[in-house]
C-alpha cells in the first residue's frame, strides 16, 4: 500500500540567533530542530513540520515585524519563540489579535497569563523560590545582589528580598549595571572588600561571564595571601552548560544554579536526548535548559496537533492541556488553569568539565504558580540554616 503523503505544517520560529543573546537563541533553535527532526522522522505523525525561522537579532521592533510577517504573509498558526519578556510583550498583542498560539520556552519572572501562550519555561515558583529556599536552609540569609538593570533582575531580586526578609535576613547590597554593560570591576572589588557569604547573580551574557572570571581571579589572589578567607557562593537562576564553557574551565566551577533541566539528569529519556543532541550538534556540546524547553515546545505542539487532528488554535490548546509528556527532565504537562507547565525544579553545582552536579530534585513535578499566589513566606521563614546540613544528592 502506498504511504499517504504527509501534510506540511509551517511553524513560525522567532529566535534571536544573532545579537546580544544569540547564544541562547541558537541553543533554543537546536532544541526545536531536534523536535522537528524527531516528528518528521517518525511514523507516529501524519504530518511534518516545516519551520520558518526568523532572526530578530535581539531588536524589539524586528520581533513585531517578523511576527506580523509570519502571521499575515506566511499564515502560520503556531509560533515558537521569544526569550526576553520585552520581546514577548512586543509580539503578544499580535498573537492575541490574530488568535494564534505562542510556544514560549524561556523561564521568566511570571505575572502574566495569556490564553494565547503555552508557557513551557519555568515560572517563578519553579526557579527563584526553590533557590531562595535552598539558600535559607543551607547557606544563610545575608545576600549581595548583582544584576543587569532590567525586569528579570528587578523581579527575581524582589522575590528573593521578600523571602530573605521573612527569614530574618537581609540584602546587604543591590548593584545594577546597564543591560549589556560589561564594566563590573567595581562590583568585584566591593565583593572582595565586603566579603558577603552569598552573591545572587542576574547579570546576562558577557557581563555575567566576565563577572565569574574576574571574581574567580580576585578571590584566587586574595586566597594566595590568606588561605583562610571564605569564598562567597554565587547563586543564579540562569547559568547553563554552554555558558560554563564561555566562562572558562576554572572560573566556571562551584556555582549554584536553580533550573528545571540539567544535561546531567540520569534518566533513560535524558540520556537519549543528550545523545541525539550531541550527534546533531557536536560531541562537545551539552543541551541547556533552554534547548530542552524548545524541544518540549516542538514536541508538545506536534502531539497536540496529532490529538486535535488539525492546527486549529482552539483544538490544539485543548489537546495540549490533556497531554502528559515523558520529557528529558521528567513528566511535563500543561496546567489548564494558567497555560504554564508542571516542571521539576532542581538545584545543581557547576563542576569541572562544563557540567552540573545535581544536588537536589523536587520529589514530583511542581504546579506552576505564575503570580506566586500560593507562596507561603511563613513556611519559608522557618527554614533556617541547619548546622552540618547535608544535601540529598540525587544521582
Amino acid at each position: 500500500m502506498a504511504r499517504r503523503r504527509r501534510e506540511t505544517i509551517h511553524l513560525g520560529v522567532l529566535y534571536s540567533l544573532t545579537g546580544p543573546y544569540g547564544l541562547v537563541g541558537r541553543e533554543m533553535l537546536n532544541g526545536l530542530t531536534l523536535a522537528v527532526e524527531q516528528v518528521n522522522g517518525s511514523a507516529e505523525f501524519d504530518f511534518q513540520f516545516a519551520p520558518l525561522v526568523f532572526d530578530p537579532g535581539g531588536d524589539l521592533q524586528n520581533y513585531q515585524e517578523h511576527c506580523e510577517l509570519l502571521i499575515r504573509d506566511k499564515g502560520v498558526r503556531h509560533i515558537v519563540g521569544c526569550y526576553t519578556s520585552a520581546s514577548r510583550k512586543q509580539v503578544l498583542p499580535l498573537i492575541e489579535r490574530y488568535d494564534r498560539l505562542l510556544w514560549h520556552s524561556a523561564r521568566y519572572e511570571g505575572f502574566e497569563n495569556s490564553d494565547n501562550v503555552i508557557y513551557v519555561g519555568a515560572a517563578p515558583n519553579q526557579h527563584i523560590v526553590p533557590l531562595a529556599r535552598h539558600m535559607i536552609e543551607t547557606l544563610g540569609t545575608s545576600v549581595y545582589c548583582v544584576g543587569a538593570n532590567y525586569l528579570w533582575t528587578w523581579e527575581t531580586t524582589r522575590v528573593l528580598q521578600e523571602i530573605v526578609s521573612a527569614a530574618g535576613g537581609e540584602i546587604v547590597a543591590k548593584r545594577l549595571v546597564a543591560l549589556w554593560d560589561t564594566e563590573i570591576g567595581h562590583i568585584v572589588r566591593e565583593i572582595i572588600e565586603r566579603r558577603p557569604p552569598i552573591v545572587f547573580n542576574t547579570l546576562v551574557g558577557e557581563a555575567s561571564y566576565r563577572f565569574y572570571r574576574d571574581l574567580h581571579r580576585a578571590l584566587a589572589r586574595e586566597q594566595a595571601r590568606d588561605p583562610g578567607l571564605p569564598r562567597p557562593t554565587v547563586l543564579s537562576c540562569s547559568l547553563c552548560e554552554p555558558e560554563l564553557r564561555l566562562i572558562g574551565p576554572r572560573a566556571s566551577v562551584g556555582h549554584i544554579t536553580s533550573s528545571v533541566y540539567f544535561s546531567s539528569i540520569d534518566t533513560p529519556e535524558n540520556r537519549a536526548f543528550v545523545r541525539r543532541y550531541r550527534e546533531m550538534f557536536g560531541s562537545g556540546n551539552l543541551p541547556s535548559v533552554d534547548a530542552e524547553a524548545s524541544y518540549l515546545c516542538g514536541l508538545l505542539l506536534a502531539r497536540a496537533v496529532r490529538r486535535a487532528g488539525s492546527t486549529d488554535v482552539q483544538g490544539v490548546r485543548a489537546a495540549a492541556r490533556r497531554d502528559e509528556l515523558q520529557a528529558p527532565q521528567g513528566v511535563v504537562r500543561v496546567d489548564p488553569e494558567n497555560n504554564h507547565c508542571y516542571l521539576t525544579p532542581r538545584l545543581a553545582r557547576s563542576r569541572a568539565g562544563f557540567s552540573f552536579e545535581i544536588l537536589d530534585t523536587a520529589p514530583a513535578p511542581v504546579k506552576p504558580d505564575p503570580y506566586l499566589t500560593w507562596l507561603d513566606l511563613d513556611d519559608l521563614a522557618h527554614r533556617r540554616p541547619v548546622p552540618g546540613h547535608a544535601l540529598r544528592v540525587v544521582k
Partner: protein, 198 residues
C-alpha cells in the same frame, strides 16, 4: 478661547514620557484628536512639569535606583502606561501616584476615559488633601485651645465651661479667632485680669 463642554479636554497640555514606538504614536494621535497639545519626552530622566496639565508615563521603563525608586511627587494628574504587571514594576509605578492607567498595547479606545478618570481623581485627591491640611491645622489648634482653657481654669479657679466662655469672649472682643487668642494666652500676653475685663 471659546467655552469647552464639560467633558472636553481641548487645550490641555499633555506630556508623554515614553520611548518612541507604536504605543506613543497611538497615544499622541488620539490626544491630538481630542484637542490636547502633546509634548513627548524619550528619556525617563526628569523634565519640568511646569506648563503640563496631564502626564502619561511609562511604567515599564526607567532605571531602577539601587536603593529603590525615587520619584518626585507629581502635582498633576498622571496616567501610567503599563506593560509588565510584575510587583516590582507596579511598586515603582505606584510611587508616582498615578490617577489612572492604560494597558499596553495602547489603543485609541480607553484614552478618553483615562483622561476623564485621571483629571477627576486628581481633583478629588487635591480636594481631600486641602481638607486634610485644614483638619490637621485645626487639630494642632485644638491642643492650644485645650491648654489655654486649662490655664484659665487653674488661674480663675473656674470650671471648663466657664473657662471656655471667658476665652471665647476675649477672642470676640479682640476680633481674633479662638485659636489665635489661645496662642496669645499661652504666650502670657493676656494675664487673667485683662481676660476677665476683656
Amino acid at each position: 478661547m471659546t467655552r469647552r463642554h464639560a467633558r472636553s479636554f481641548r487645550g490641555l497640555h499633555a506630556l508623554i514620557e515614553h520611548p518612541p514606538g507604536r504605543d506613543r504614536t497611538v497615544l499622541t494621535t488620539q490626544l491630538e484628536l481630542l484637542g490636547l497639545r502633546v509634548t513627548v519626552h524619550d528619556s525617563p530622566l526628569p523634565r519640568s512639569y511646569e506648563d503640563i496639565d496631564i502626564l502619561f508615563f511609562d511604567a515599564d521603563g526607567g532605571q531602577e535606583a539601587e536603593s529603590g525608586d525615587v520619584h518626585r511627587e507629581i502635582e498633576l494628574p498622571a496616567v501610567a502606561l503599563i506593560g509588565s504587571e510584575t510587583p516590582s514594576r507596579l511598586q515603582a509605578m505606584l510611587a508616582r501616584q498615578p490617577s489612572a492607567y492604560l494597558m499596553k498595547p495602547i489603543r485609541a479606545t480607553g484614552i478618553y476615559a483615562s483622561l476623564a478618570i485621571a483629571t477627576h481623581q486628581f481633583a478629588t485627591l487635591q480636594g481631600m488633601r486641602r481638607k486634610l491640611a485644614s483638619a490637621e491645622e485645626r487639630l494642632r489648634s485644638r491642643r492650644l485651645l485645650f491648654s489655654a482653657t486649662l490655664q484659665i481654669m487653674k488661674q480663675a479657679e473656674v470650671g471648663e465651661a466657664e473657662a471656655f466662655r471667658i476665652l471665647r469672649r476675649a477672642a470676640m472682643s479682640h476680633r481674633q479667632t479662638i485659636e489665635a487668642m489661645s496662642a496669645q494666652i499661652l504666650a502670657g500676653e493676656f494675664p487673667l485680669p485683662r481676660l476677665r475685663v476683656g
